[in-house]
Every structure is written in structure tokens, then in C-alpha cells.
Amino acid sequence: MTGLSVPRWAGDAAVGLALALGGVALLWLAAPIPRGSVGTPGPGFMPTVLGVALIGLGLACALRAWRERDGTAVTLADRKAAVCLVALAAAALGFIPLGFVPTVALLLAVLFTVLAGKPWWRAALYGLGASLALHGVFQRILGLGLPAGIWPF
């Protein structure tokens, strides 16, 4: 297994710190929104309270992780998961401009090659077949609107 091996406590603490940072960002974004008064809270009231709470709880999570550190490690994003994620992100980007069939055929071809270990040409063939089949089921039979993009039919 390749991938990023991190101590469990470090990752846990990093998530806590990220949450705290999220709280800071929330406070910063909420700053221009009127907070109103205690009696009549404005639209910025709740985000401000939540921002403060998130900073506190995020730090508490990080502290807890540090206090309970042990030797265990966690493998983060091994090759398969990483490829999967990048491919999915790319597919989400291309889904509308390129259209359903080309994007999904490409996504499936990549994933079948990497995840199922199929030779690339067979993966490509399966990918195209599956995307056409899915298109048939969802567009033709179920009548969902799928993006056409550059796909002519």
C-alpha cells in the first residue's frame, strides 16, 4: 500500500485545527453582516456565535487528539483513492460542458484501468459500453435530463 501514512493523533489534531480555522474564516466572512442586538438578532448573529463555537470546539478536538496520542498510523489517500478522487473531480468539471456519454466513458475507463486492473483498451471499451447503457437507462427509460454536451444524441 502506498499513500500517505500519518500518525492517527496528528491527523485527528489537524482536522481539529482545520475546524478552528474554519471558525476563523466564518467570523471573518460574517464580519460585514449586521449582527443586530441581543433582543433582535440580525443575520450575522448566528454565524458569529457559530464561528466562535467552531474555533473553541476545533481547538478542543485538537487538544484531545494530542493528549490521547498513541502509536497507531492511518493511511490517507492511497493510490486508488487518490486517483478516484482526481478522476471524479475532473468528471464533475467536464460533466456539463462535455456531456454525459464522453465524460462518463472517460471516467469509467480510467477507473476500470486503475481500480480493477483491466488493460486500458478493454477498460475503455467497457467504459463506453457502460456509459451508453447508463445513458439509455436514465435518459431514455427514466426520462432524466442528462447533459448532452458535445455528444450528438
Binding site: 456531456g99 435518459q139 435530463g145 442528462l146 447533459p147 448532452a148 454536451g149 458535445i150
Partner: protein, 324 residues
Amino acid sequence: MRGILRGVVAGVLAAGLMTGPAVAQDYPARPVTLIVPAPPGGGTDVFARQIAEAVEPILGQKVIVDNRAGGGGTVGTTLVSAAQPDGYTLGFVWNSPLTTSPHSLTVAYTPDSYAPVMSIGYSSYVLCAAPDFPAATAKELVERIKAEPGKYTYGNDGIGGTMQLAAERVFAKLGAKVRPVPFGGAGETARNFLGGHVTFYGGSLPPILPHVAAGKAKCLLLTSAGRNPALPQASGLDDIGLGAEETVLWWGLIAPARTPPAVLAKLEKAFMAAAETDRFKDAMDKQGATRRVLGARETGALIRSELAALGTVAKAIGVERKAQ
């Protein structure tokens, strides 16, 4: 969606290959996409689908309804405004994204970005009180709320929304102050009104009608100029001398600006004829809406005057975002 993308692709191809704008006599040469900025199933969607069906035989082309909900209708309206002005992308909208949302949201369109084609009719909002409220007529209601500024509350569909602005528009002219309490929709308003949590129900007619029949509510004032046969006891704004302050929920057809005038004229005629078909009349009756078919000029004038009037109200109650 597929329809639009295909339309766009086909449009680009057609423009590239044949050059020159679509000729009005040939219009419509292919299916027309009708963008509905509301989710499927609601009142706007029902009217859009009914009128699309009614107009198909008149235009001699298919009309494809494409629901593009989001942002209180502003997402779909933006799409219509930015579409190719060739008459193949139209929008069936209600008035909120045109005359209400631009005050609180930064939208990419103005009344100059789209061309009004026609409108089909409206549905009024109504103000109702509990049966034991000390007022039996709209006049008495007005006296009561003017006598006790800030004492009463009214439920509405959301601050800065058309319903609330409609009510505030009237209150402003009366010099009355009633505290607005927004709810997630007229159904939720009805429940809180019946539970006694707000003084007045403010919203569309259908959710409150059964409770009027059951004697749990008395509706006193409509936001339309005229009265409504479904609520004979409620006054219209004409009755209290404020007929000019009418704000109602209405529906109409828009096209991108710069759509060829000949195409617009053809659409206006076709859709106005479609609005006169029996099946369409029936659909409007079923939803409790009042038919009032207006042409392009009157609809355009309505949009501009309503936009200005609601802008004044929005500024007065502090929901206008443009100044900031």
C-alpha cells in the same frame, strides 16, 4: 437542460452555416424551450406546462418546459436574459424574480435585459385575523392597526419577498406599523396563525380558505384592487381607496431582449390565444387564480411600475441591498 444545450449547439451551427438571423416568417422552425425558474409541481410550473401544451398547436412546434429552479427564480431568469435572442428560448416566470428579487439580490438583469411578451393573470394575497379579533371589516381593521402601532404581528412568506412587500406597501400608505414574522411558506404561516402565535395571516388564498370555511379565520383585506369571489367578505384595496397600491402574484412570459420584433409579435399573439383556451382557463380556476390576459406593452408597464413601487418599499423597510 439537454434541450437547451442542444438548442445552443444547433443554434451555433445554424448561425455558422447559414448566417443571417432567423426569418420571422419561418419562425418557429424547431422546438422552443420554455425555461421555468421554479421547481416542478408548483403553481408556476403547472401554468407553464398548461400554456405550453395550449400553444403548441398554435405555433405548430413543440414547446419543451425546462425547470431551472434556484435563487427564488433569479437563476432561471438570468438564463433567459442571457439566452440567444432568437425566439427559441423563452421564460415563463412569476413576478418575484422580475420586480422583487432585484432589490435584495445582485442580479445580472434589468428590465432592459428581457422583453415582456404577455401575462396570463394573478392570484391575490390576503390578510386574515382570528374570529374574535375586534374588527369586522377592512375599514375597522385599518383603524385598529393604526391605533396600535407595533402591537400586532403578521405572518408572511419571507422578509423582502413579494408578499411582505405587498403588505408593507399598503401599511406604508396607511401609516400603520405591523410587525412582520416570516415563515417558510403560507402553509407554515397558516399553522402559526391558527396556533395563535401571530395576529394576522398573510399569504396566498388556498392555504387559508378551509379555515375560513371552518370559522377559524376571517379574511378582511386583499392586496388586489378588486374583490375575490372565493372570499366575499374580504375587501379589495379599491374599497379602502388604495387601488393603485395593488401588488399581487402574477405570471407572464418573457423573452431575451433584442429578440426580433416580428418574432415577439408572433409569440404575443400565439400565447394570448393559448391563454383563451378552455383547458387553460380551467387550469387557472383550479389553482384559484384570476385570469387577466395582458399584452406585451401593458405587461412591460406593469413590471416597471411594480419594480419602482416595491423598490421604494424595500428601501423604507431596509432590505434594499444596492446601496451597500
